[in-house]
Amino acid sequence: MTWYAFVGALEQGFAYGLMVLGVYLTFRVLDFPDLTVDGSLPLGAAVSAVAITGGVNPYLSLLLAMAAGFMAGMVTGILNTKFRILHLLASILTMIALYSINIRVMGRPNMTLLGKKTILDPLSNAGLSQSVSAPLLFGIFSIAAVGFLIWFLHTGFGLAMLATGDNRQMITSQGVNTHRVIIFGVGLSNALVALSGGMICQNQGAADVNMGVGTIVAGLASVIIGETVFGGRSVARTVIAALGGSIVYRLAIALALGLKLGRFSFTPSDLNLITAILVVAALTLPQVRQRFRIR
């Protein structure tokens, strides 16, 4: 793998890492399979792109993206808790609705940010090249998000959220309104996903309504790979593993795309196949390890 490909994978791993942390929060903490992310990632991108085009500060545009993502997540949470729609279906409904909403937000299916200010400008102005500034900035963002999540999951409310995903009856009889916890938790998760979307769009210079397709698959793949490679029992360890998984996942894809066996090489259209194989490998590796463990 070339240095260029490695840095690119790192950059992607951190940028999508925020999305993976969001998926970790719903999938693992709340035990809530949330497909909203396929819609909230482009939502974050769209809101950020429109805001920047309208002259809003790029960093402020990310806050707006997060707010939009939070609301999208809340809709899924409300559909699930108040309207008693199955979590999977509730999230699919929000996801497809977001497709239309994202086009409404942008006024068209995609928009470019050519020549517009982005969050990377201050670093470029300081003399850093894009190949350094992007992984650095996204790394800072995602590590800050890891720190935030570890802190949050150790607060009283965080404990209630962990318990909601584990034993709903127990935490209800301890006086916690689980509806509120789920609505907030899915909201927070999608705020992180939208933040990820906003950063990705500023990095690649465009927002597209289809950029979210397959987000949940990449997110789950990263969470599962992270658990297999870095996983541990403590909450802090699992949060760090999720981000680590995102980086390993992007590196593995970069490796596969750079692979040449004679005349054969992978193309970007093989990505879905590679992802599926990676997840299967990550899920079976612990069993294989156990079988061949030497006593």
């Binding site: 949050f152 150790h154 607060t155 009283g156 409310f157 965080g158 404990l159 209630a160 962990l162 318990a163 584990d166 034993n167 009856q169 127990m170 935490i171 209800t172 009889s173 301890q174 006086g175 916690v176 309104n177 689980t178 029992r233």
Partner: protein
């Protein structure tokens, strides 16, 4: 202190499977009462506790606690006044959280779960002290996941959690039925100690008539959604298993051998 007035509860109301689970239950629980509730399967014992705790909504009737009408309150809100121990020992605790985290959640029952630290340093001494009282040597295992504990240990922990914040009423729903006899005895002793030490108002559902007679100051027998016996004080103290069986026959007139009630 706790008044149940005309509590009626249907399951599958309006369908062919309609069941009348509770039929106009009236019960006045006084402060400090320790009521044991017995009855055959389907008598409505658990439904009664569920209606009181709010996990079942009543179709008719009114529940007041200390003069407050709690009938429209959702379960989580009533949890500020009521604590419960379930039959399933896995139900009252969180397996993926450790002992101190479970206790911290219980210590906050009825209060807000904010953004302060989940487990505070000064809580740990209190938790250790309380765990020492259990006598199960859990005081040195605060950081162990609750999933590592046995069913009996988890039920003991649930008992402790249910009483961390003093409840207005403690509901025990056959909380020893799923445990092996030795551990069940242990949990019963613990129940007796906790309830008597703190003078807790308690309602305990049991299938074991001897247990129902030995524990508490008041006994309620239910049959087909109604209360058919409610005795307390000396009258209860003089009651024998035979009396209960006779009472059951006259009220129900059913073949007793088919029932799950235990004669031990």
């Amino acid at each position: 202190m706790i008044k149940l007035q005309g509590i009626t509860k249907y399951f599958h109301r309006g369908s062919v499977n309609e069941v009348l689970a509770l039929e106009g239950i009236n019960l006045d629980v006084r402060r400090g009462d320790f009521i044991t509730i017995i009855g055959s399967n389907g008598a409505g014992k658990s439904t009664l506790l569920n209606c009181l705790a709010g996990s079942c909504h009543v179709d008719e009737g009114k529940i007041t606690i200390d003069g407050k009408n709690v009938t429209p309150w959702p379960e989580y809100r009533r949890a500020g006044l009521i604590s419960r121990v379930f039959q399933n020992p896995l139900m009252g605790t969180c397996a993926s959280l450790n002992i101190e985290q479970n206790l911290a959640i219980a210590a906050r029952r009825g209060h807000t779960h904010g953004l302060g630290k989940g487990v505070k340093g000064r809580d740990r001494d209190l938790f250790r002290e309380k765990l020492r009282h259990l006598g199960l040597e859990l005081e040195g295992r605060l950081k162990d996941d609750v999933g590592l504990l046995s069913g009996g240990q988890r039920q003991a922990l649930t008992m402790l959690m249910a009483t961390m914040v003093r409840p207005k009423v403690l509901l025990l729903d056959e909380h020893t039925a799923a445990l092996d006899p030795k551990i069940a005895q242990c949990i019963l002793e613990l129940t007796k100690r906790v309830v008597e030490d703190d003078r807790l108002t308690t309602m305990m559902v049991t299938h074991n008539m001897k247990q129902a007679l030995r524990m508490g100051n008041r006994l309620v027998m239910m049959h087909r959604g109604r209360i058919i016996l409610d005795v307390d004080g000396d009258e209860k103290a003089l009651l024998k298993v035979e009396d209960l069986i006779e009472r059951f026959y006259t009220a129900g007139g059913e073949e007793f051998s088919q029932d799950r009630m235990l004669l031990v």
